[in-house]
């Protein structure tokens, strides 16, 4: 556990409150018995079982002892016993938990099975069992609660350790010859440590509560000793006479228990947040730049192109913002995209991860994440103007139009179907909702569409669940789902990335057939420029949230933007010269919250000069070809950004 985590946990108001409370309890545990230990034992025969008075703020017990003092003094005993029990649980739990990783396969499995059986029983039942075995009293209760908590901690250790053990770096260490013991101490425990510390903290809280419970039942601390639970039990008998006698120790128990639990949870939250932040691209290494300029002015007549009248998709100035680390408190992974797709056209969007290509597609389809803010000067999808609709996706009419005219195909067919619903019903749902079809008719159409995409035995397969389909078949079913109505536009977001290459070809051919037969336009998003070139007539290249080049597939060998050229040269294909090194692009794409001013590609481009500090707009470089570059490359040039020579695939054929 690193120091900054603790600090971050303490900055959180909940964590801070919990920590202050714990600190106060610790101080009380040390000083209260010293200050008031004797006074709390003092009996006052003149004030037996009194309510609150000036002398005894919370009243007295049956022997006339002051309740307030007794509650304060009991802090030490209550906390101490709880921590002792926690220590036993953690110690036994870690031993039992690490054992399977150290033992052989069979004995390890025995330990796991035993722990699993024990975990099935609630801790209180185990505690009662052990309380009988270890005997009634404080010592017995510590052992009982410690033993009762051990199985669940052991299980936690087992799952964390085995999840760490399943990760590649542990495999790599094993291959590198790291011994079993060192593996546990250097790799497994440090990486499992965080959740374990968090849970031990939470566990201390529940041990405290459990202890109070046992003492309350009379099975824990025995008189004349007393802890909060005991005081509570005694107070409850006289709750009508003096409620404070029962409530005060109760509040003490709850406060202390909560302090531990909340501290643990706020640490867990901080740790979790950190993990989420790590998932994003780290923002180092990119050159320091001035803050990005104000939102780009609407490219009104962008490069002098008139909006196409028979466009099924017309996007101008699309920006997608997330609250983030940008200069104005927002980051824009998509930052001013223009895109237009004509009826029946196939357009490919290519880019690396982080280029904003998928987010562009999702935003166009109004499927961007909830916390994204999508703005556009123009956003017409399948003849539906979405620019001014705002957030009201609940409009049934709009839903019906979008649902019937726009179809989506997603990247991972394994996760894109509802696992608990039969495939046929998931297809049928589209027309049942949007066209009001009956169950039978909708299912019949679903079967028909499954046949259209050549799913064998469509009738039978419609009644199967998604997990009974292979990846390729699911992707076909996904396309079939899009065909339930008559779509004008199909947006396919990396539809073949999760598939094998032979299946990829089948799915791409299917998309092509569908496009030909239905006349729907297809937008294909992919990181693989070769895939896009095979299917699409026109290719749009994205980099750092913008379109950098737009060209007919047949002109890929004449790409004008240095990035497009480098992208083509860095991917080997079956004709690449094996004696030449591949083109490489130095550096890495800029973080969306920290893009350089002007051309985003300039820091990685060997042609960049001062001119590139200004924002390049898409400009026509050849008929049907536009590039956002101050120094567009012209002609079938072999040069690449790194200055190394590379051959470009010659004779690119129109798809």
């Amino acid at each position: 556990m690193r120091r900054e985590h603790w600090r971050a946990a303490l900055r959180n108001p909940v964590g801070a409150t919990a920590a202050v409370l714990l600190f106060a309890l610790a101080v009380l545990a040390v000083v209260a018995p010293m200050l008031w230990g004797d006074a709390a034992e003092e009996t006052d025969p003149a004030a037996l079982s009194q309510g609150s008075t000036g002398e005894h703020l919370l009243g007295t017990d049956a022997l006339g002892r002051d309740i307030l003092l007794r509650v304060l003094v009991a802090t030490r005993y209550s906390l101490g016993l709880a921590l002792l029990a926690t220590a036993i649980s953690v110690l036994v739990g870690v031993l039992l938990g690490v054992l399977p990783a150290v033992l052989g396969r069979r004995s390890g499995r025995m330990v796991v099975a035993a722990v699993n059986l024990a975990v099935a029983f609630p801790a209180l039942l185990l505690a009662l069992f052990f309380a009988v075995v270890f005997g009634v009293g404080a010592r017995g209760a510590v052992l009982a609660i410690g033993a009762a908590g051990a199985p669940s901690f052991a299980r936690l250790v087992q799952t964390t350790v085995s999840s760490v053990a399943g990760r590649d770096f542990v495999a790599a260490a094993r291959v590198a010859g790291v011994g079993r013991f060192r593996l546990v101490t250097r790799h497994l425990l440090p990486n499992a440590g965080e959740p374990l510390v968090v849970n031990a903290t939470v566990m201390a809280g529940s041990a405290l509560l459990a202890f109070a419970g046992l003492s309350f039942l009379g099975l824990g601390v025995q008189p004349p000793a007393y802890d909060w639970g005991r005081l509570l039990g005694e107070g409850l008998d006289r709750i009508y006479l003096n409620p404070a006698a029962a409530l005060a120790p109760g509040i003490a128990v709850v406060a202390a228990g909560l302090a531990f639990t909340l501290l643990g949870e706020s640490i867990a939250q901080v740790v979790g947040l950190r993990a989420a932040r790590l998932g994003q691209a780290p923002a180092d290494g990119s050159p320091a730049t001035e803050p990005a300029p104000e939102a780009p002015a609407a490219p009104a007549a962008a490069a002098g192109r008139q909006p196409d009248s028979d466009a099924v998709l017309a996007v101008e100035g699309l920006r997608v913002g997330f609250p983030g680390a940008g200069p104005d408190g927002w980051t824009y992974p998509v930052d001013g995209v223009d895109l237009s797709v004509r009826r029946g056209e196939t357009v490919g969007i290519v880019g690396e991860s982080g280029s904003g290509k998928s987010l562009t597609a999702l935003s166009v389809a109004r499927l961007a994440p909830e916390h994204a803010v999508v703005t556009a000067d123009r956003l017409d999808v399948a003849g539906i103007p979405l620019g001014g609709v705002g957030g009201s996706t609940d409009d049934a009419e709009l839903r019906r139009k979008l649902g019937t005219r726009l179809a989506m195909v997603f990247q991972d067919p394994m996760t894109s179907f509802n696992p608990s619903m039969r495939v046929g019903w998931q297809l049928a749902e589209v027309t049942r909702v949007h066209e009001g079809q009956g169950r039978r008719a909708a299912l019949a159409r679903a079967v028909d569409r499954l046949r259209t995409v050549r799913v064998p035995a469509a009738q039978r397969r419609a009644h199967q669940y998604p997990h009974e389909f292979s990846g390729g078949m699911r992707q076909r079913a996904m396309i079939a789902m899009g065909l339930m109505s008559e779509p004008e536009l199909i947006i396919a977001d990396e539809p073949t990335t999760a598939l094998d290459v032979t299946v990829q070809r089948q799915v791409l051919r299917l998309l092509k057939d569908v496009q030909r037969e239905t006349g729907a336009a297809v937008v294909l998003i992919s990181h693989d420029i070769a895939v896009v070139a095979q299917l699409c007539q026109r290719i749009v290249v994205m980099y750092a949230g913008r379109v950098v080049e737009e060209l007919p597939a047949g002109r890929l060998d004449q790409a004008a933007h240095p990035y497009t050229r480098a992208l083509l040269g860095s991917v080997p294909d079956l004709t690449t010269d094996r004696d030449e090194p591949l083109t490489t692009i130095p550096g890495r794409p800029p973080d969306p919250s920290d893009r350089p001013a002007g051309c985003s590609f300039a820091p990685r481009c060997s042609f960049a000069d001062d001119a590139c500090r200004a924002d390049p707009r898409l400009a026509v470089v050849a008929p049907g070809q536009r590039a956002a570059c101050w120094h567009p490359r012209l002609g079938p040039g072999p040069e690449a950004t790194s200055g190394e020579l590379s051959t470009l695939p010659g004779g690119v054929k129109r798809a």
Partner: protein
């Protein structure tokens, strides 16, 4: 498609046909049925767990340091009385004989005899069980009725980081209440509704109103805990790709939530529900002692204190079996609810 030649040869005989030639058919399909093998495996596991439980319950009396009878009767008891009691309990027999006797007794419904009252343990349990069971079941039903709609509703309201205030309010207040153990909650309820307001009885099991406070005490924490978990699970499901697919189909929101989110959040809800029910069955021990509820929880505590070990043994066994049965039911429901569940993997 192959053309069917002789139908009789291709299709297996439907159902259990006449004895003889057809007998192999049903048996083969019976053995191949994943449900049957799943049930068989699950029952084997249950039996194994019960055996472990029975053994531990049996051993409990022997793990106690010293002589349980002496401990039970007190140090002043005359030695011949102790000896007679040991003899009547069979404690002088060899361990394995005692174990076999114990197991045999269990099969006959004999859980032993109380050391203090000489009443058969089974009778006492039979008398006390309904009070405990009705309490646990009522609390569980309340938990489910409150937690699932609350959790799903909160998930929908706070999806995608919406309504941060409501989210913070819900998570922090539910965390606080869920962290209060049932017996302290019970004390608080007694104070507010019994002592201060005087609305409900605070002790004993009389009419329907006597259920109110114990059930509340038992269910409030688990209900909020469950609601939190349901919310987190539902939010996780909302982040799944297939929910995006459902949105891409432009289904109305209620359909997305009820048809696509809810069934897929059910699995973990069931798992947690089972754990909570187990916890609540045992949690009755504390609540019963606050409300002087005449159930098994009162009995087990008093018998632990009076060192009436056969009675403790019997009640631990009943609690344990109840927990195992809950686990079994949960596993069966999980298998039914999830088409991908292990039973199909075999």
């Amino acid at each position: 498609m192959t053309t069917p030649s002789t139908p009789a040869a291709v299709t297996p005989p439907p159902g259990p046909g006449p004895a003889g030639s057809a007998a192999a058919g049903p048996r083969a399909s019976w053995a191949g049925n994943p449900w049957v093998s799943f049930l068989a495996r699950r029952l084997v596991r249950l039996v194994a767990s019960v055996v472990v439980l029975v053994t531990l319950a049996f051993l409990m009396i022997h793990l106690i340091p010293g002589d349980p009878v002496r401990a039970s009767l007190g140090i002043t008891a005359p030695p011949d009385l102790v000896e007679a009691r040991r003899e009547s309990l069979g404690l002088n027999d060899p361990l394995h004989v005692q174990y076999l006797d114990y197991v045999r007794g269990l099969f006959a419904g004999d859980l032993g005899t109380s050391m203090t009252s000489n009443v058969p343990v089974a009778d006492t349990i039979g008398q006390r069980l309904p009070a405990t069971a009705s309490l646990a079941v009522a609390a569980f039903v309340l938990v489910m009725l409150v937690a699932i709609p609350l959790g799903l509703g909160m998930a929908v309201l706070t999806r995608g980081g919406r309504r941060r205030g409501a989210e913070l309010g819900f998570t922090s207040s539910s965390a606080v209440v869920a962290a209060i153990p049932e017996f302290l909650l019970a004390v608080g309820l007694v104070f507010v509704f019994g002592v201060t307001l005087g609305w409900f009885p605070v002790a004993g099991r009389t009419d329907a109103t006597s259920y109110v406070l114990p059930v509340l005490a038992l269910s409030l924490g688990p209900a909020l805990l469950m609601a939190r978990i349901v919310r987190v699970e539902a939010l996780a499901v909302l982040g799944e790709d297939f929910v995006r697919t459902a949105r891409a189909k432009r289904l109305p929101p209620w359909r997305v939530y009820l048809r696509h989110m809810f069934p897929n959040a059910l699995t973990s809800t069931l798992t947690i529900g089972g754990l909570l029910l187990s916890g609540m069955i045992v949690g009755t021990v504390l609540v019963e002692n606050v409300f002087a509820w005449p159930g098994m929880g009162m009995t087990i505590v008093s018998s632990i204190l009076s060192k009436d070990y056969p009675l403790v043994q019997g009640i631990v066994l009943v609690y344990g079996v109840a927990v195992l049965l809950v686990n079994l039911v949960v596993d069966l429901l999980l298998a039914l609810a999830d088409p991908r569940s292990t039973i199909r993997e075999g």
